[in-house]
Assembly symmetry: C2
Amino acid sequence: MQTVKGIGVRASLVCCEAGAAGRGFRLVLKPSLSGIHGDTMTENGCEYRDRVLTMDTMNPNVKRVEYAVRGPIVQRAVQIERELKMGIKKPFTEVIKANIGDCHAMGQKPITFFRQVLALCSYPDLLEDSKFPEDAKSRARRILQACGGGSLGAYSTSQGIEMIRQDIARYIEQRDGGITCDPDNIYLSTGASDAIVTMLKLLVSGEGMSRTGVMISIPQYPLYSAALADLGAVQISYYLDEDNCWSLDISELRHALQEAKKHCSPRALCIINPGNPTGQVQSRQCIEDVIRFAAAEKLFLMADEVYQDNVYADGCKFHSFKKVLFEMGLEYSEKVELASFHSTSKCYMGECGFRGGYMEVVNLDPEVKVQLTKLVSVRLCPPVPGQALLDVVVNPPQPDEPSYDTFIKERTDTLATLAEKASMTQEILNQVPGIKCNPVQGAMYTFPRIHLPPKAILEAKEKGQVPDMFYCMKLLEETGICLVPGSGFGQRDGTYHFRMTILPPKEKLKIVLAKIKEFHQHFMEQYS
Amino acid sequence: MQTVKGIGVRASLVCCEAGAAGRGFRLVLKPSLSGIHGDTMTENGCEYRDRVLTMDTMNPNVKRVEYAVRGPIVQRAVQIERELKMGIKKPFTEVIKANIGDCHAMGQKPITFFRQVLALCSYPDLLEDSKFPEDAKSRARRILQACGGGSLGAYSTSQGIEMIRQDIARYIEQRDGGITCDPDNIYLSTGASDAIVTMLKLLVSGEGMSRTGVMISIPQYPLYSAALADLGAVQISYYLDEDNCWSLDISELRHALQEAKKHCSPRALCIINPGNPTGQVQSRQCIEDVIRFAAAEKLFLMADEVYQDNVYADGCKFHSFKKVLFEMGLEYSEKVELASFHSTSKCYMGECGFRGGYMEVVNLDPEVKVQLTKLVSVRLCPPVPGQALLDVVVNPPQPDEPSYDTFIKERTDTLATLAEKASMTQEILNQVPGIKCNPVQGAMYTFPRIHLPPKAILEAKEKGQVPDMFYCMKLLEETGICLVPGSGFGQRDGTYHFRMTILPPKEKLKIVLAKIKEFHQHFMEQYS
């Protein structure tokens, strides 16, 4: 797989990166072992063993896969937590994980109505319980009627429960000002990741010069680079413009595409809006330009819109690719192939654990659609509790229903708090000399640039670490704060960043930001 | 992909097979279209459109994927259900789906305790509710304490919640008479299918002669052939011995392996025990022989044991590959690489919709394990409600707990009913001249052989259908009973079968069997 420098550099870390188990982790730090065929470590020490499945014989594409959001720094964070439990003294008392957009883990409370419906669906005896509001009960009854045998425990159709796909279609039509949505174009999935990987899989073919190339932004969410490595596709990197709020510049798209055409067959363009890890919200104009570009260059559009409700900055508004596409007229709306993705994991619900998600496909070749339906049928169906949750997300309490006020209050409070934390994060970080971050217009992350002194970069390289990994590891060891190095998302050569979520509770977030400020100042002194 | 005749023949049905949408279905019956690049049907009729993603440009491996359990016959069954709703007259009033092991859809009731715990976990306010038994509450509290932020909505570690992996390890140790199980060797998954595909993915490498070959039984569960097609691996088919209760004959394994070595590199051997679709339960002797064979031939063993609690026949007992392996001594227990799979979908719980599953890996190269952990981290985590369900499955009510008696009664009744239906099915079918089925020793299916008259085979071929597909389609149209043709699982050339679940309620099952009997007799007269 062709990779951007930023990611390429981390190749040496692949093994280390996924050192989940203590044993595994120690082992992979012994490069001397990795070469010897089938020679492996066991509890009883090192003994020769001729295994079938070894580093030499395993799937080479899997070896190339990297996923920084759960990489070595997170593994180390888990170790440190264990060490703290064991009573080992540290300059801090707890590890704060700001590495992943895991809302509930950071204390965000679930929406009461959603959980009531899920409890009713899980244990229908509760439908007789007067403690549950009528609207929650009617939602649950409706969902159960759409389930085989009236149970969440039955398989659904592979594309997802038809009634839920109809509800999603109505929700999308409302969101997009009445532009029609065909429930038959909706595919439910195990989180958005599942649908994204499925679409990419359909798109990958050819060998050598004709191998499928897929354009992804840099910085990117590493699911994309990981999936492309796994599928043996060519990653075509286009850089977002950090100096302009991480905006997308069409000339950069054009440049990246021209370069890529020399060694692969570009087939798809992936966009994340609002941006992860960069937090920008794309203007309507930008989206139009991207659509025109995709149409002119014959690229399949993949729009990752899982943060569509997470827009905070004044003057910013979420525009769905679907809506813009259809408002650009038949020339585009009947021509451009689009898959857009949404999920229950983010926005105001933050229900990551249920792995609920869906995609809408537009202008997909009907024969390919048959193939897509066949492909998803092999995995039988997405988790039905996640489908049920998705149904209440797209079909929440209405003004005339008993749960409406509570629902609105909970949703508004959650989004307001996120907005507050977004601006607080950028303000405080921008006060630190040597740290510069763009406004967090949307999503759940800040991706500030950090200026590292040459001495630090040198020491990192001596340690065989990417400089921002070195920085983040040091931060973790000294403060207990777990961030993800920018190199895990890709960045321009010679620039360094970290991704931090804005999710910790306000008071804790203040402390985190103060600690980062203090650490950075001290780091600069130490290496100046 | 190399395929067995039985499956190969169905290639012509691939498009038709997945014709989920009415439109898609009509379209794929127009072979004239399928060739023309990018030419596709739209609501507004047929117009030329130059698409990026077409049958010509899509991933060729995906085109080769087939999955009969949800194939054309099921698509037709869904259409017929719609037609019945629309008031179209049929010789029957309802479609009975005996095509898939979907317990709750067939009326099996969930285990009360499991659903109580799931409701408590979904909506923790219920922990204050006196209507819930204390043991359900304590389980729910314990699970929530192991979840990030005490919520099912938080991501878990990618390998699965550590506490749940510990509970699973204890459960396996108990099952296997104390043989130790390391929680670090447990990986939770999105149903067993997910874990099976992940292990196969790790195993696939090489090109041409050195391409990975994987041995699977014929008849097989089509997840295996589908995954191998998707991964571009070589399917090595070994035939089960229908004349001896679908038993596994080592000489057949040896023969299939020798043949395969001429054109690929055999690396893994997949076993399904109890068998799907064939319902046999392997003897301890047979499992020992398989392990010796795998050790001698350096094959990675994959044991699909999702039906481990579904054993009905007298004298039959489930032996786990792990237990037998470890009882064969260090020579094997320290050498043979094994992955075994289990799920919440079958057995007495039948909770398919939650997509809960796990695998245990034994003797996996520690470095490969690091790669496995990295690979699963890209999908973040398995559905947490499914993980919670799995935890209560392996940690059910104990004799001193309030829910114990109800739990035991529900479990016993469910398994007893299944046993009854298993013997009833085989008895009645064996009374039909021209149908011969082996005893359903375990699992949830019968796979009877049907003798089709030459005239029927001829008419099928004229229709471009595999003879047993022709038979099952006719059965569906005339009786509303939905079965899966044997060709979807693979079978010896010139033999024909169908797979039928034993899951319909007893009274309904009697009717189904009577209808099949009547249909078959009439079919034989018609074509004799």
